[in-house]
């Protein structure tokens, strides 16, 4: 009964997200649209807390922790959002976006350790093989955990740099061949993930390293997020924030796959798609292409300034 009710609640929340987003793109209805989406979110969160049941039919526990965290987050979030100056709003959005990315990455970390039964590191796990084979679609879960980790942490690190740039704490910085460096970094991240995911396909003997490689991937992803945003000009930050926004959407959708949760999947993919289009529209409004914004400033800052002047 409760689980069926939760399904209806999730369905309702998904529809509210869609309607909210639709109204947000119309000047007359935008403010109401925001409230519609917020209502959908509240219902989904409350429903999850009180009605969620796992595969074995157990309810959630640790209620005091959950409520404490929600209260802390809600108070801090409201204060920060109310106090911020009108001119500083884009950087506030960037911070909140980074929080979402970090949240997705943290979920991946917890689930990784849950799946492996390791204690956050190098400790051997003799029954890993048995555990993993008990998981029917374990390989897919593993891929999704990695995707959530990488996308979430890139989004988090990138958003923090974007925030720093908008309030003038971080200067534009690029070095020779940074393109190549970024590309290699990304390749390294992907190679590490493929190698790590490939564990299941090979022997189980390398399991001792899995934890180390996982955290190396986390570290490289954070690094990539920093180097991805660092060279982009401060004036282009809104476009970058919008792009990172859609990244976080995809990271949230990864969580949806992981927990078989349709509202996370719907909301995440919706924002991922809408965010990508919005990024392109924002570029168009500035009469530039996305490629131009993302890589145009490598050694080309002077040229652009000259053109503008």
């Amino acid at each position: 009964m409760e689980i069926n009710l939760l399904t209806v609640i999730y369905l309702l929340a998904s529809v509210k997200f869609i309607i909210g987003l639709k109204m947000l793109s119309n000047p007359a209805a935008a403010r109401k649209g925001n409230l519609v989406a917020a209502a959908g979110m509240s219902v989904a969160i409350l429903g999850t807390i009180f009605l969620y049941k796992d595969e074995e039919g157990n309810s959630l526990h640790n209620y005091s922790w959950i409520f404490a965290a929600i209260i802390i987050g809600a108070v801090a979030g409201t204060m920060a959002a109310k106090k911020v100056k009108m001119t500083a709003m884009p950087e506030m959005v960037s911070v909140f976006n980074g929080m979402g990315g970090a949240c997705a990455a943290l979920i991946s970390i917890v689930e990784f350790n849950h799946l492996f039964g390791t204690n956050y590191g190098f400790i051997k796990c003799p029954d890993c093989a048995a555990r993993l084979h008990a998981h029917n679609f374990y390989l897919l879960e593993f891929i999704i955990i990695f995707a959530g980790l990488i996308i979430g942490s890139v989004s988090f690190a990138g958003s923090m740099i974007a925030w720093g740039k908008l309030n003038g704490k971080v200067k534009d910085r690029s070095f020779k061949n940074q393109h190549l460096f970024n590309m290699l970094l990304l390749l390294a991240i992907l190679a590490l993930s493929v190698y790590n995911v490939g564990f299941e396909l090979r022997s189980m003997s390398l399991f001792n390293f899995a934890g180390a490689l996982f955290y190396l991937t986390l570290f490289l992803s954070l690094l990539y997020g920093i180097f991805f945003v660092l060279p982009i000009g401060g004036a282009d930050m809104p476009v970058v924030i919008s792009l990172l926004n859609s990244f976080t959407g995809v990271a949230a959708a990864c969580g949806g796959f992981l927990y078989d949760n349709k509202v996370m999947l719907t909301g995440g993919i919706l924002v991922g798609a809408a965010g990508t289009l919005l990024t392109i529209l924002m570029c168009k409004a500035m009469n530039r292409s996305l490629k131009n914004v993302l890589i145009g400033n490598f050694g080309g800052a002077a040229t652009i300034a000259a053109q503008a002047g």
């Binding site: 909210g20 989406a37 917020a38 909140f96 976006n97 929080m99 949240c103 859609s246 990271a251 999947l265």
Partner: protein, 102 residues
């Protein structure tokens, strides 16, 4: 090959949702006027805060003696709530300003 096909068969529900949501997401904001770009970005930012549901599930499933999971989950719920609450409040403030100007 056959395992790949069966994978698609088993997960067809997800694949349908993903494809339809991609088209829907593109379709519903396709005609947004450029003044609304920033509020829309902020609103979308709040919506991807659904990731908090995952954080709540992590937190609620953690064994009471697994302190690392509890601490990480606790942090994740705080960050997720910041994303959701902050996102919606900031969007509301932006749109409020928008109305006054008119």
């Amino acid at each position: 090959m056959s395992s790949f096909l069966s994978w698609i068969h088993v997960h067809q529900e997800y694949i349908y949702i993903v494809i339809l949501m991609i088209f829907l997401g593109i379709e519903i904001i396709g005609r947004v006027p450029s003044v609304l770009h920033t509020p829309l970005m902020s609103g979308a930012n709040a919506i991807h805060g659904v990731v908090i549901i995952g954080a709540i599930i992590v937190m609620g499933k953690a064994e009471t003696d697994n302190y690392t999971a509890l601490v990480l989950g606790f942090l994740a719920v705080i960050l997720g709530t910041l994303n959701v609450v902050g996102g919606f409040v900031v969007t509301d403030r932006m749109l409020e300003m928008f109305k006054k100007k008119k």
